[in-house]
Symmetry: C2
Subunit: 411 residues, 2 copies
């Protein structure tokens, strides 16, 4: 796992292309009331076998939406070799019982019929309001137009069609070059993501798709996805709530040949981290990012636990919103993380400035401290002085706007 | 443990008296800048042995303020038999290193000298800003006046002097009557509390004092305190952050004889619950209480874990602030609590109205549902259908005012 600082601003301001072998589209099917695009399709371009290696990481929430259950089943049934990924926004098809599963199945069979493929080779997900029936007729009615709209190249229409309350589409891409004998080869890893926690009332959360043209067996792809998710989506939080529809899909078109494993792993991790940080930065009235970096832990698990506890503390998050260099709250949060350390050896800093050491405040120059707490991304550092392990976690300031978005709403 | 609904409004609008055998005072020592009272003393009235049985439950935070460390040491050294409890507000004496401990010791020795007692029989705590030196000279200078101001009866001046950002003083009291042969006897349990989480920037949290005139060995008193804290202060949360100075003290004057154990336990639990709920209701811009009641769990621990997760979910708490009957968020929070249950057998309700059952929404009448979500205390019910165990947890709506209090502040 890399713990290098990933850039917190999008690397691409214009949408990167999907890797070769993919075509995609995003259109308005009338699921969202405002007429914006709400149905997205990513498939093989049909050349070669047309088969895509597939892997996915799904929500750990016990309440799992119907499309997630169906995708899990189809991944297993197809042995991780699929043909299409269909995602709608505007309706989560979660907490919808047997009828919800029926409608999810109908969406995959309707698409499979039109594409002439096995319905078990379709992955599907939904995001939007929980507990509302999926408007399956609108989806069916839009499938022909969706398929006709598919193009190779830019991921933009796909990225936009999966948005819910996101203020902007989010994407990231990396290219890898290597020598195959005397031939130079290259492949691409491109990802898109939507959502920033369950930010809208009854809204269901984060969906990411990472695609590559590298040649990968499904289990190899799963390995890259796992480690990418581990150092990215598993290390961010906007409100601590996971949703019924959280998922990260990975697809490989197997067109570009076998890329060097280490470089490919790095590309997956970097794309994952960029996407994850975009989610945090676009989250729920967030104005300021928070990065908590813990060193000197006995184990990486200890480091992560302290980092997560500090990053998710409401008092730390409101202090960051206020630009308030309130290191007492950082101490108090670290102290309740359940990880043993000696408070007299603990060192706490922000933006490289020591704030607390040897059991006492350092009385650092207040101007410099204040600057560290009003940065675009406030970097909090804790050295537990217990060992050599380290880890980090990202979150964002808790704002009045967050409460507004989530409270000032009438069903 | 009782899981009966404790009244969520104060049982006493005028301050109850301390039990017999106690005298108390609260005066302004100049620690707080606004001149309000900030130094509180509770001692034996000196009749009889003058000895008080004592017990305490302290913060589990690793960062423990100097006065807490000193009180823990004095409790051990005295075998749980003390003479006085001294509390100041306006300064937490936390994260103050060796100098902080020195000042805490100075406060106890100065008081012990004046009272003619062993300094190890003094318990002490502080609440206020973290990382600031305790103004020991002001405390020493105020001790004579503090001792002179001590009176039997009302707990009001004590309860007011330990307040920080509390909007009102908080107290609760229960009397017990029993027959000792042909003689009717009675005793009293009276408690006071301050604080509602770390609600003010750099503020250190909750302190409660529960006193009784029942005759109790220190270990018996500790047992009553433990079970009272378990069903009260351990079941509330305002922001999930524990502080460096959290503590609940119990003192017994041993004047009233041996009360029936079951009744005394109930009195301790009821006083504890009333105090805890007052803390939640006076917390951090809170406008609406939340009670989450989980039934049908395999173990009480499972029930508590689900109840706590739902009660502390930011999305549930903002939904309550908005009066929004957003049961999807309740499901999502329960689903990530880490406790296994079958979503198809889960039942979720609010204020007695079923919202979700058999894996689907119940489509309950919206007017009734909305009324349940705009109650003074929103009562959320979950039946896991996994067993017979139950538990509950209290919190409060998350408001813009909370963010304001905690963010819109400049050090």
């Amino acid at each position: 796992m890399t713990t290098a600082v990933a850039p917190i601003t999008p690397a691409h301001t214009t949408a990167p292309p999907w890797p070769q072998g993919f075509i995609s589209a995003g259109i308005a099917a009338g699921i969202k009331k405002d007429g914006s695009t709400d149905l997205a399709l990513l498939t093989s371009d049909g050349r070669g076998s047309g088969e895509l290696s597939a892997a996915a990481v799904f929500t750990r929430n016990l309440i799992v939406a119907a499309p997630i259950q169906l995708s899990r089943a189809n991944l297993a049934a197809s042995g991780g070799r699929v043909r299409a990924l269909l995602i709608n926004s505007g309706c989560a098809n979660a907490a919808t019982g047997d009828d919800g599963m029926l409608r999810a199945v109908q969406s995959t069979t309707a698409l499979a019929e039109r594409l002439g493929i096995d319905s078990r080779s379709v992955l599907v997900n939904s995001t939007g309001v929980i507990g509302v029936a999926l408007p399956i007729d609108r989806i069916k009615g839009a499938l022909d137009a969706l398929i006709a709209a598919q193009q190779p190249g830019s991921c933009e229409s796909f990225a936009r069609a999966i948005m819910t309350t996101d203020t902007r589409p989010k994407w990231s891409s990396r290219s890898i070059h290597w020598m195959d004998g005397v031939t130079q080869r290259n492949c691409t890893v491109t990802g898109v993501v939507k959502g920033a926690g369950m930010i809208h009332p009854n809204m269901a959360t984060m969906i990411a798709v990472i695609a590559t043209d590298a040649t990968l067996e499904p289990d190899e792809l799963h390995g890259h996805l796992r480690s990418a998710v581990d150092c990215s989506f598993h290390r961010i939080s906007v409100d601590g709530d996971t949703s019924t529809n959280d998922s990260v899909f990975a697809l490989a078109s197997n067109r570009a040949g076998t890329a060097p494993t280490a470089q490919l792993a790095e590309a997956f991790e970097q794309v994952g981290q960029e996407l994850a940080l975009m989610v945090v930065r676009d989250g729920e009235g967030s104005e300021r990012g928070i990065e908590v970096r813990v060193t000197g832990a006995r184990t990486q698990g200890d480091a992560l636990q302290v980092a997560r506890t500090v990053a998710m503390s409401l008092l730390v998050r409101t202090a960051v919103t206020g630009g308030d260099p309130n290191w007492g709250r950082i101490l108090a949060a670290a102290g309740r993380a359940g990880i043993p350390f000696d408070p007299n050896r603990l060192r706490v800093g922000a933006g490289g400035i020591a704030l607390f050491a040897d059991g006492s405040p350092t009385h650092a120059e207040i101007g410099a401290v204040r600057a560290a707490f009003t940065a675009d991304c406030v970097r909090i550092e804790l050295d537990l002085a217990m060992g050599e392990a380290r880890d980090l976690f990202w979150s964002c300031g808790l704002t009045k706007r967050y409460v507004e978005i989530n409270a000032d709403y009438t069903t």
